[in-house]
Every structure is written in structure tokens, then in C-alpha cells.
């Protein structure tokens, strides 16, 4: 598949559906906690990147959009929302701050503390494990434009390239790290920097879900064929504040307006309508369905019971298998 070819119809509809659900997911979660981090405007990146993986591939998501990534990888949305509410019905019975990672397991990793960057290392390890297993699995990881300035990014890129690991590195560039614009914080260009590690470095339109999807799929094909890692720079824009309640008045209004005109759901919808694959009614139905699902899950999460003291773990260690 080349990047000009389009994904099949069913895939394209599924991508739009995921975009719509991603936005509703954010909507309800950031109402529950306005200190959290909506990805409005950036949905095409997690959706394009993490759709179309093999079930045994390993995804590791940037914290912003992590629950969306998890949803796409099979995570249970209702359980995640209950966890967001700190309820005993949640993914981990209220123990885990789930918005940063989604539901973790052997096919999905994420942030394990409040520290940016370390997941990139785990994703490289997942790629190393995949290489040992030799079954064509790949590891796909996203991280922010701000996060690429941390040392682990550099070490991980070099390491994966040196060992020819099946890892796809995707920079979810929303042009800001809290208040610092990537135009200031990243000296040089992001994709040139990727190229410095001797791997293909590709620019993608982070507001065009098909473009992201295609370029990731190409990189995955290379990785599965033993051709090693790729770096994809997906440019988008953080439409909201760093967190839901941040007015983000540190940036020019025109910039925001310019990007508002490129909304990834609107773009995708328009394309599918123009190509007569869906009607605006179909799309309204998808939206309606998503709204109802997420609203009801949020209601349920809020109504669910709180955990009791007995839920506090008494032991951090996994049991030793020695006797």
C-alpha cells in the first residue's frame, strides 16, 4: 500500500467512527476532571496510528489520547470511565490513574507514573521482545513534541536503529508543551532530527486520519519485513488548553482559528460525504450513538460504588514462584 492509496471503505468508516468516539470520550472525561488533558483537534493521530494493528502488536500511547488508544486496542471504555471516577467497578478498582495509559496489558503499554518519556523506552523493549519472538509483531509508540527533548527519546531512537528493531515512533506534534511552542523548544526540524538516527523519517498531516493511517501502515510493513524502525512526524494542533480548564491565553487567536478550520472530524466527514461513502445523516447517527454511549457510561461511572479500604493493596511485589 502506498500513501496515495486509500484504506478500504470499511476501514475508512471505522476511522471516522473512532474519531467521533474519541471526541466524546474526551468530552465526558474532562467534565469529570477538568484538570485533565483533552486532545480535541488531535484525534486523527491516535486514531490513525493505532487502528489497523495486529492484535498481538504492542501499542504504547502518549498520555494525551491514551484512553482513546486503549479503546482502539480493545480496552473496555466503560471500565476506564469508572476508573476515571475512582470507582471499584473501574479497570483497576480505583487504584490507577487511568487517563495517562488506558488499560495496560501485554498488547498495550502506557505511562506508569507522571513522568514523560519513559514509555518510549518500554516501547523499544516491546520491539526487542517482538524481535526475539520472531512472529512479525511490531511496537508502535506515540509521544508529544515536547517529549522529544528528553534524553530518553534520543537513546531510544538510536538503540532501535542500531538493533534494527520493529518500532514505529510517532511524534504527536500539537505544537505546544503546556505553554511552550515547539517552534521555540525544538531547535531544527522535528523530522530532520528523526533522520539523524539513520531511519526513514516521514512527515504526516496529523489532521488527516487517512494520511496518518497510511504512513503508519507503510512503516509497519517495513518493520514486519525486518527493515527496522521508522519515525513519523504527525503535525496537528492542540485546540484546547493544556488541560480542559486552561484558557491558553499565551498564544495568538489567529493561530487557533486557522487550525479550527482544519478539524479532523470535519475533514474526514467531508471526504467521505464527497466520495459518497456516507451521508451526513449517517454521520449524525454515528455521533448520536457515541454521545449516548459515553453519556451513559459517564452516568454509570458516577453512580458506581466507591472502593473500600480493603482495596488498598497490601503488597507491591508479584508473588515469588519459588518455594
Amino acid at each position: 500500500m502506498t500513501s496515495n492509496a486509500e484504506p478500504e471503505v470499511s476501514v475508512r468508516t471505522a476511522l471516522l467512527r473512532s474519531l467521533i468516539r474519541a471526541r466524546h470520550f474526551d468530552r465526558v472525561v474532562n467534565k469529570i476532571n477538568p484538570g485533565w488533558h483533552p486532545a480535541t483537534g488531535e484525534e486523527a493521530i491516535p486514531v490513525g496510528v493505532f487502528s489497523g494493528l495486529r492484535p498481538d502488536d504492542i501499542s504504547t500511547s502518549h498520555y494525551r489520547s491514551a484512553m482513546v488508544a486503549s479503546m482502539i486496542r480493545g480496552g473496555d471504555v466503560k471500565r476506564m470511565i469508572a476508573e476515571v471516577c475512582g470507582k471499584v467497578t473501574g479497570t483497576n478498582r480505583g487504584i490507577t490513574r487511568i487517563d495517562l495509559s488506558g488499560e495496560m496489558g501485554e498488547n498495550h503499554l502506557g505511562m506508569l507514573s507522571g513522568t514523560l518519556g519513559t514509555p518510549i523506552g518500554y516501547a523499544v523493549g516491546a520491539g526487542l521482545a517482538a524481535k526475539y519472538k520472531g512472529e512479525g509483531q511490531v511496537s508502535v509508540v506515540t509521544f508529544g513534541d515536547g517529549t522529544i527533548n528528553s534524553g530518553i527519546f534520543h537513546e531510544a531512537m538510536n538503540f532501535a536503529s542500531m538493533l534494527c528493531l520493529p518500532v514505529i515512533f510517532v511524534c504527536q506534534d500539537n505544537q505546544y508543551a503546556i505553554s511552550l511552542p515547539s517552534s521555540k523548544s525544538v531547535a531544527g526540524s522535528i523530522s530532520k532530527r528523526g533522520a539523524g538516527y539513520g531511519m526513514p523519517a516521514i512527515d504526516a498531516d496529523g489532521n488527516d486520519v487517512f494520511d496518518v493511517y497510511n504512513k503508519v501502515q507503510e512503516a509497519i510493513s517495513r518493520a514486519r519485513a525486518g527493515q527496522g524502525p521508522s519515525f513519523i512526524h504527525a503535525l496537528s494542533y492542540r485546540m484546547g488548553g493544556h488541560w480542559a480548564a486552561d484558557p491558553a491565553n499565551y498564544r495568538p487567536k489567529e493561530e487557533v482559528e486557522e487550525w479550527a478550520a482544519r478539524d479532523p472530524i470535519a475533514l474526514c466527514s467531508a471526504r467521505l460525504i464527497a466520495e459518497e461513502m456516507l451521508t451526513s445523516d449517517d454521520i449524525a447517527k454515528l455521533d448520536e450513538e457515541a454521545r449516548n454511549d459515553f453519556d451513559s457510561w459517564a452516568e454509570q461511572g458516577k453512580a458506581d460504588p466507591l472502593p473500600g479500604a480493603e482495596e488498598i493493596p497490601t503488597e507491591a511485589y508479584a508473588p515469588s514462584r519459588l518455594v
Partner: protein, 328 residues
């Protein structure tokens, strides 16, 4: 006397020192126009933006600390903010292996007058709460400070900014915007590093605390007085390294009983050091076991309900005091 929060008091000390000491500059993520996460640099951008003395840093914690330390060795007096204490764990190569050893290893030719501000503790932020400070107190040459109230915060920050050693200044997220209290107007008001404060004198049991635990220990002390006529002396360490061993030992000499409480995990927490010092140097004064009241060795649970049960509350401290008296 103005009434300030801890955060305001810290910013006021920083501001007044920046006015008189051109060697001070600040480096941190989002500390410019944004004002710092939790507004830790509130108002300073407006005042200093044209001087280049407030630098918005990229997500590069290692070089933030490294550049701060290097500039300090070259005669500047940097204030580096690492947004949260857990992130300081990304730059421990410099911090543990080197910056506290510079003065000795260079035969006193170089010093590292570096202040690292950082935040931890359970609070409204719902994350980044982990208190890893024991890591920092396990190596020579570094000072570690954690104020529990505005006046101390102001005096300690000013001392830190006049200190010739690296100082790690811990700001508790549950306290920093909490209560306002009076602070002196004097621009030379300092509280020396390394001096603990007896926040409540008492004769029966010594409670050593810091940060969030100070107010809980005080409440526990009032309750114990009211319910059982047990009179606790509450010590606020304020500086965790170097420890004010004299104040602790004198108190135990008087009370004969010691309870230590902190928000960090019990095992390997800095309370162990306090216990060890008293069990060695104050053994003859001890009339009962040294009791530590601290969270269990598991991750901090997310759910607010569980978080509240996890961090020791007044009741847990009261129970600890009873155990130290052999009453439970």
C-alpha cells in the same frame, strides 16, 4: 505584616532576592508567561521578562539541572524548577553523584549555589504526589528543605538563595495554596537551613514531622491532650538534610518517647535516619519503642477515597503515639 500563602511567600522571597542579586536567574518549564505550574512563579514574568532572567525550559530535566549546576559553578546563582519531585528522578546522575561533592572534590575551588524548586505531596493536582525525598538525603553535600507554613517558607527560601550549597526545596502541593498566614515584611528575614522548629512544646511524647504531616501531628496532639492528657511535642524538621539532631535529641531527652511521621513510604523513608540517630545517641533517654507512622509500601492509590486512607491522618498519628507509650 502581609498574609500570604506558602506559594506567595516563596515568590516574595525570590522576588526580593532577585532585586538585590543580579546573579539569580530562574530556569523551569512554563515559568514565563504561564507563571509556572500551580503558579509557582506568579507575577515574576511581568516584572523580569525583559531581563532574560526567567527562562522557559524544554522537557529536558537532565540538562536543566546540569546547566543550573554548571552556571552555579561559574558564579551564577540559578533557581531551577523541576515541575514535580518525581521528575527529579530523571536527573539524579548529576544530583546524587556530583553536585554535593563538587566543593570537596575541587579542593574548595568551586561551589554549587543552586536552588532546585520542586513539588510533591497529595493535593488538588491528583498526581505527581510521590515523596521521593529520602533519595536526596542519602548522599553528602546536598541540603533538603520542606516548609509547612508561609513564614517558614519565606525565611527558608531566602536562606536557600543565600546559601553556597545545592538546596532542594520541596513545595507541598496540598499546602502551597492552602492557608494564608502572616509573614514578616523584612527583606532580610531568614530562617537558617538546618534548624528544626518546635511547633508545639510538650512533655510526654516527641512527634517528628515535616510538610503535610505537621498540621496533622498538631491536630493529633490537641486531640491526645483533650482525650488522654497526653502532652506531645511536635517538631517540624523544616530542613531534612542536614538534620537538626540537637533539637530532636533534646526533645526525646525530655519526653522519652518518639513518633516519626512522613508522607513518604515507610520503608526506606527519611524517618529511618531519625530513628537510627535517636536509637544511637538518645537511647538512654528512650522509654518506649520508636514508632514510624507512614504509608505502606505500595503505589499511592488513585481514588480519592483510597488516597485519604493511604496517607496517615490524625487518627493514625494518635495510634502511633499510643503505641510509643506502650498503650496499644
Amino acid at each position: 505584616m502581609a498574609k500570604l500563602t506558602i506559594n506567595d511567600a516563596i515568590v516574595a522571597a525570590l522576588r526580593s532576592e532577585m532585586m538585590v542579586n543580579p546573579k539569580i536567574f530562574c530556569l523551569g518549564q512554563d515559568i514565563g508567561q504561564f507563571g509556572g505550574a500551580l503558579q509557582t512563579f506568579k507575577g515574576l514574568w511581568a516584572e523580569f521578562k525583559d531581563t532574560g532572567r526567567i527562562i522557559d525550559a524544554p522537557i529536558s530535566e537532565e540538562v536543566m539541572v546540569g546547566a543550573g549546576a554548571g552556571a552555579a559553578m561559574c558564579g551564577m546563582r540559578p533557581v531551577v524548577e523541576i515541575m514535580f519531585l518525581e521528575l527529579l528522578n530523571l536527573c539524579l546522575g548529576s544530583i546524587l553523584n556530583e553536585i554535593g561533592q563538587v566543593y570537596v572534590k575541587t579542593g574548595h575551588r568551586l561551589k554549587v549555589p543552586l536552588v532546585i524548586r520542586t513539588k510533591c505531596g497529595v493535593g488538588p493536582h491528583r498526581g505527581h504526589a510521590e515523596d521521593y525525598h529520602a533519595v536526596l538525603t542519602s548522599v553528602p553535600g546536598i541540603k533538603v528543605v520542606m516548609p509547612s507554613e508561609p513564614r517558614d517558607a519565606m525565611g527558608l527560601m531566602r536562606s536557600a538563595l543565600r546559601e553556597d550549597n545545592p538546596v532542594i526545596f520541596l513545595e507541598h502541593m496540598g499546602l502551597t495554596h492552602a492557608r494564608r498566614a502572616e509573614v514578616p515584611d523584612d527583606d532580610d528575614f531568614v530562617i537558617p537551613l538546618g534548624v528544626a522548629d518546635i511547633k508545639r512544646p510538650g512533655s510526654d511524647v516527641t512527634i517528628v514531622s515535616c510538610g503535610l504531616m505537621v498540621s496533622r501531628a498538631l491536630k493529633a496532639a490537641e486531640q491526645l491532650k483533650a482525650d488522654h492528657s497526653i502532652d506531645c511535642e511536635v517538631i517540624d524538621l523544616r530542613t531534612i538534610a542536614p538534620l537538626d539532631t540537637a533539637t530532636i535529641l533534646n526533645s526525646v531527652k525530655k519526653t522519652g518517647h518518639l513518633v516519626i511521621t512522613h508522607e513518604a513510604w515507610k520503608t526506606g523513608g527519611s524517618g529511618g535516619e531519625v530513628a537510627a540517630i535517636v536509637a544511637e545517641q538518645g537511647f538512654k533517654d528512650l522509654k518506649g519503642p520508636i514508632v514510624r507512622v507512614a504509608p505502606p509500601n505500595v503505589p499511592i492509590p488513585f481514588s480519592l477515597t483510597l488516597e485519604k486512607l493511604f496517607i496517615p491522618n490524625e487518627q493514625a498519628i494518635m495510634d502511633g503515639v499510643m503505641r510509643s507509650l506502650g498503650k496499644q
